[in-house]
């Protein structure tokens, strides 16, 4: 009877009410929600929350805001299905439930003293935005900071305004490419990996943070290797079905990993083998 261990760890299965304070449209299908948590919120860039819409459902979403701000958090959501579409239909004043933060974030400290590469594809830029804020808050601790972004079309670029703003600074290098250009597009066309050979970082001193679809991450890792970036300096973030965020529902398993607990961020060389197995 006494065998069950009593734990003092708080229950993380109850959604915390958060009031939506602002809704910013990013693209035709993506918005950034700024919410005010019931209590001051602390998270690390790369961590996720489970966002719950009353009666509709709950989905894993990365936190995309400044990690040094605790009164508000932002989450950037692309409406793709039932729950995400209900969430992006939120209005200021609405209440969403938030659980978390869960998982392990980007180890930004590891990049201190060296260069930073931030490489995102599509909505994958969301968890990377928090890194940019953190690095800018402590700019003197890092060398070159290079952001490489790939989007399907110019209309699919998230955080376009901020990318422009960051691009106008002298201490960050921002490069955006699109798969398919439209008439107004003057930037490069092609996949994000094309920009890696010419990226202005020192391959022996750079730490790369990569987020995007699985194939994009695999090709990016390969391009980084060809650019002589050591694979233990490359971090990726995995996407799996998630229903609990705390290692209890089993859905997010990837090999022996619970992505919700040991991820979503992984050091590439520790999972390269898993990337090669189909349907694992």
């Amino acid at each position: 009877m006494a065998t069950a261990t009593e734990l003092s760890i708080p229950q993380l299965l109850d959604p915390m009410p958060c009031v939506v304070r602002a809704v910013n449209r990013e693209t035709h299908d993506t918005i950034t929600l700024e919410v005010e948590p019931a209590e001051p919120y602390h998270f690390e860039p790369g961590q996720i929350t489970m966002v719950y819409k009353h009666g509709v459902g709950e989905i894993p979403i990365s936190i995309s805001s400044d990690p040094d701000r605790h009164d508000r958090i932002s989450q950037t959501v692309r409406g793709v299905g039932a729950v995400s579409k209900a969430i992006i239909a939120s209005h200021p004043g609405d209440v969403l439930g938030i659980r978390g933060p869960f998982g392990v974030g980007w180890p930004i400290d590891q990049a201190e003293g060296g260069d930073v590469a931030i490489i995102g594809g599509g909505i994958g830029l969301a968890p990377l935005r928090s890194i940019v804020y953190r690095v800018l808050n402590r700019r003197d601790r890092f060398g070159a900071v290079v952001i490489l972004v790939g989007a399907r079309t110019p209309k699919d670029i998230v955080f376009a305004e901020e990318l422009r703003e960051w691009g106008s600074r002298f201490d960050i290098d921002v490069n955006v490419t699109v798969d398919t250009a439209d008439r107004g597009w003057h930037g490069p066309v092609g996949v994000v990996t094309n920009m890696i050979p010419r990226a202005p970082w020192d391959s022996s001193k750079v730490t790369a943070f990569v987020c995007g679809p699985e194939v994009m991450m695999r090709f990016t890792a390969r391009a980084l290797r060809e650019d002589d970036v050591p694979m233990d300096k490359v971090y990726v973030t995995m996407e799996r079905n998630m229903q609990c965020g705390v290692g209890l529902c089993g859905h997010c398993q990837w090999g022996s990993h619970f992505v919700c607990r040991e991820g979503p961020v992984f050091r590439y060389d520790t999972v390269a083998e898993l990337f090669r197995i189909r349907g694992v």
Partner: protein
């Protein structure tokens, strides 16, 4: 610490059951239902499957009569105790639009009477999953903390049992409040050992006579004999590494050609813990309910992310299941995820046998290593 050991006759077992009931426990035990030995509430030993046993083999289960009045002369049935601790369906949260949670009904206080050693081992494994890996699950903890467990040693292993290979039986394993051994010689007797302070208190209140050494020796002999009569065995030496090494083996397709991905094995398994959450709304839209239901890695939706499922083939899903049970479980929780209860073998409609499939993979890995 030396805990008390007493001897009881059948009438003593009845007093024990009554006493647990009087102390406010809902006493659940193996009972006959729907042509199987399942679990239900009992109030005396009469409610147990007295004089019954079963024949089990891959895809086969049949009840038969014994020639005696044994209380525990059978192995495990289709259901495990996880139905009580990790219910197949349970409301985990209910709240209004402001996310204010409503109170949920408190769970019953259970006494589990007749938990087999492999099942005790399975409960300890689920303790690790639900209570010990960083977060603690309210649903499980509220049912588990106050549960009183009476473990029963095995002397009639089933045709699909292989606990002796997994180190989880047929003798008692740690964790129970009381351990019962049934002795079926001329005199029908039971040796009952306390395994916890709570168990000691119950025995003290029962006021039974201390067991003589020859009776204790007889109980030990019964278990030793059972270990030699296991229906199946599994060589686990190198198995953990072999399964991950064979991830790309063609054998998975061969198993997938037989597997119906029906998920019977995961539902029957006493350690499988996967679950999904369903959301619903009251008709007036005011109250939202989050319901947790058992889920299975054999389902296509289990690995669904926007754009499609990740484990599309039956081969990838069977591989996920058996690799988790026998290999990656070690990485995650420091033990095997299989206790050798044999349920997945018995209840597989096409008779797929985890011991046979694991053995084949192990052989394949060994021969690849040798060449």
């Amino acid at each position: 610490m030396v805990r008390p050991v007493v001897e009881l006759d059948r009438e003593g077992i009845d007093r024990l059951i009554a006493q647990l009931g009087d102390s406010g426990f809902t006493v659940i035990a193996p009972t006959l239902s729907d042509g199987t030995i399942s679990h239900g509430p009992i109030s005396s030993s009469q409610d147990l499957p007295v004089g019954w046993t079963e024949v089990q083999d891959a895809g086969t289960y049949r009840l038969t009569r014994r020639e005696d009045d044994a209380l525990f002369g059978y192995a495990v049935g289709p259901h495990s105790w996880k139905r009580f601790l990790h219910p197949p369906e349970v409301v985990v949260w209910q709240g209004d639009g402001g996310m204010t949670p409503l109170d949920l009904a408190p769970p019953p206080r259970y006494a589990f009477f007749g938990v087999r050693p492999c099942e005790m081992a399975a409960i300890s494994i689920q303790d690790k999953v639900f209570l010990d890996s960083g977060f603690s699950d309210d649903v499980y903890r509220s049912r588990r903390t106050d549960a009183f467990i009476v473990e029963v040693e095995c002397y009639e292993p089933g045709g699909t049992c292989f606990c002796a290979s997994m180190g989880t039986g047929p003798g008692a394993v740690e964790g129970a409040d009381l351990v019962v051994s049934e002795i079926l010689d001329d005199e029908h007797r039971f040796v009952v050992r306390a395994g916890s302070d709570a168990g000691e208190e119950v025995l003290a209140a029962l006021g039974a006579a201390e067991a003589e050494t020859d009776v204790i020796a007889a109980a030990e002999q019964v278990v030793a004999d059972a270990a030699a009569r296991m229906g199946r065995t599994l060589d686990t030496d190198g198995l953990r590494a072999a399964l991950t090494a064979q991830a790309q083996s063609e054998r998975w397709d061969e198993i997938a050609a037989r597997c119906l991905t029906c998920a019977n094995c995961t539902m029957a398994c006493p350690t499988c813990f996967c679950a999904g959450i369903d959301d619903s709304l009251s008709l007036d839209g005011a109250v939202a309910t989050r319901t947790r239901r058992w889920d299975s890695c054999f389902g296509l939706e289990f690995s669904y992310i926007h754009g499609g499922s990740l484990r599309t083939s039956a081969a990838s899903r069977y591989r996920q299941w058996i690799t988790h049970k026998l290999s990656t479980w070690w990485d995650q929780f420091g033990s095997s995820g299989c206790v050798g209860c044999g349920r997945c073998i018995t209840w597989c409609p096409v008779g797929i046998d985890i011991t046979a499939e694991a053995t084949a993979m192990l052989a394949e890995a060994r021969s690849e290593e040798a060449s």
